[in-house]
């Protein structure tokens, strides 16, 4: 379901034409396009954007913790099209209990480390990821530091 302003946007309409159920909402704020994607559809939408819409680069993958709200996590993908000099932000909302989403490493191999980082610091599981290990914290670390309920001080060293 696209809002009126997004109907003017070529990328948003193209994604809707590709798979109308995939977009849950979206906005165009400060010149930046954000599309909220149903978590189950992320790989097919990324593939569509990469191969059909020329978003050849995955700039980054990260997450935002909205604790204590539910759905708690937002996984955020930033895509870049070199030809059209455009960027788009994809967002998937995940519930706080055992959050998991399909990995996009099959679309961009470069997602590997970004997803490992999100797994390490937020505890979000990426399904079918080739090498899902901690990347920043030691391998025997407990907890996920960038979660909002993780204390800033007073942890075990």
């Amino acid at each position: 379901m696209l809002s009126e302003t997004l109907r003017q946007n070529a990328i948003a309409t193209a994604v809707e034409a590709f798979d109308a159920d995939s977009i849950t909402s979206g906005k165009l704020d400060r010149g930046e396009l954000t599309l909220e994607i149903a978590p189950g559809k992320i790989v097919s939408i990324c593939g569509f954007l990469k191969y059909d819409q020329k978003f050849v680069r995955l700039s980054s993958v990260t997450a935002v913790d909205r604790y204590p709200l539910e759905p708690r996590f937002e996984v955020v993908y930033h895509l870049h099209s070199i030809d059209q000099k455009q960027r788009v932000r994809l967002k998937c909302r995940l519930e706080g209990y055992e959050p998991a989403i399909e990995s996009v490493t099959s679309v961009w191999r470069g997602a590997n480390w970004y997803e490992r980082e999100v797994f390490d610091l937020f505890g979000i599981n990426f399904l079918n990821h080739p090498d899902l290990r901690r990347i920043m914290m030691p391998e025997d670390w407990e907890g996920h530091p960038l979660r909002k309920d993780y204390p800033v001080t007073g942890t075990r060293i």
Partner: protein, 409 residues
């Protein structure tokens, strides 16, 4: 405590994943304190004779939780954190952060602040490339280049000290303009440097470009296809050395870069030597930009007219009630930033640097993610060195120009 009680137990866990070395194969642990890794990068190499068969980079030794730290600071305090991410390009990081927050605030900078930012960011690019060139040359065995490069770098650091009082952790760009008024005599100081600098670049090139040892060590070494690089998220000079003209300063201009006349150098050979040529040419182009900024520096204010964000002048605080109130508010609780999220991209010396800032309407950032160029570039290391000789590993990873602080954050 978990049941893994042995310190460093994780190290063995990584090594065990590699296949057991056969009669001719051995596993070599390079780093994390190897001098040529420029920080604390650890590479697990599996060798057959002198050929690298497999490579597994291990990062995170310099992880300091800066993204978590951002959430504890208010927006103006967080400027000091950005210096410490990429410590060889502090002003580029200051700029990325300030632009992101200014975009959230909807602030427009006066021309002098913008040009000053361009000039100092380009000086940062020069000094970052100088450190890269010096250390890269020393890795490959050309000792003297290092001394020349650091001579010029010292000049630039003195200029930074003149502006901000700090040589490296400058924090000179603040949200809403600059931290301090540009110092007296800055014009002559930079002019003196920029007049002599192009001849200094010639000096480095004299030492290296036609040097048979240098070309022998760098030409045809460290090849990786353009498709692989785009797929793996590589940015910056490495892409330009593969022939792709991509530069955020041209493609998505910020801070009035569109008003400057400069070239984006590219090469097509896509090896260590091409990356060297691209970076040397970038130094010349940056010097051109600094010169233009110096000659055309607009007059006027160096901070935005936004009393709720920018600290008032000392004089006004003594005479105006409002100025005193604003000062008190900004210092005690910071300023509130409207709800929203931005992804601000700039071209750092190493490639695409982006600040993803999420605001919830309070005086503290809700979430900050730094898309740092070193992290993206480092990911291509296995593709760069597998199949090459162990001696070329140093040249190849040197050509990536990563900073581990930038990688691990």
């Amino acid at each position: 405590m978990s049941d893994q009680a042995i310190p460093g137990a994780s190290v063995t866990a990584v090594a065990e994943e590699l296949p057991k070395p056969g009669p001719h194969r051995m596993v070599l642990n390079m780093g994390p304190q190897h001098p040529s890794t420029h920080g604390v990068l650890r590479l697990l190499l599996e060798l057959d004779g002198e050929t690298v068969m497999k490579c597994q980079p291990d990062i995170g030794y310099l992880h300091t939780g800066i993204e978590k730290e951002f959430e504890q600071k208010n927006y103006q305090q967080a400027v000091t954190l950005t210096d410490r991410v990429d410590y060889l390009a502090p002003l580029s990081n200051n700029l990325g952060w300030c632009l992101a927050v200014e975009k959230l605030l909807g602030l427009e900078m006066p021309p002098q602040a913008q040009w000053m930012r361009v000039m100092l960011t380009e000086l940062t690019r020069i000094q970052s490339h100088l450190v890269w060139l010096g250390t890269h040359a020393i890795d490959i065995g050309a000792m003297s280049v290092f001394l020349y490069c650091f001579r010029e770098r010292e000049d630039i650091l003195r200029i930074f000290e003149m502006f901000s009082g700090q040589r490296m952790m400058t924090s000179y760009f603040r949200i809403g303009g600059l931290a301090l008024e540009p110092p007296r005599g800055w014009h002559q100081r930079i002019k003196k440097f920029i007049d002599i600098f192009p001849s200094r670049v010639d000096e480095y090139e004299n030492l290296l470009t036609n040097n048979r040892i240098w070309t022998g060590r760098t030409k045809g070494v460290g090849f990786i296809s353009l498709e692989d690089m785009l797929d793996l998220g590589v940015t910056g000079p490495m892409l330009r050395a593969a022939g792709l003209k991509i530069d955020a300063r041209k493609d998505e201009p910020y801070t009035s870069y569109e008003k400057f006349d400069f070239e984006v150098p590219t090469r097509t050979e896509n090896d260590v030597f091409a990356r060297y040529q691209v970076r040397v040419e970038e130094m010349r182009q940056s010097a051109r930009i600094v010169k233009q900024a110096l000659e055309g520096m607009p007059a006027g204010p160096w901070k935005a007219d936004a009393p709720h964000v920018v600290l008032p002048d000392r004089e006004k605080m003594k005479t105006q009630m409002e100025a005193l109130i604003y000062h008190f508010k900004i210092v005690t609780e910071g300023f509130r930033v409207p709800e929203g999220e931005v992804y601000q991209v700039i071209e750092s010396p190493r490639g695409e640097l982006a600040y993803y800032v999420v605001s919830d309407g309070t005086a503290h950032p809700y979430r900050v993610h730094m898309r740092t160029p070193s992290f993206g570039n480092l990911q291509c290391t296995p593709n760069l060195i597998v199949g090459s000789l162990i001696a070329d590993v140093i040249a190849s990873i040197g050509s990536e120009d990563f900073v581990l602080g930038d990688t691990d954050r």
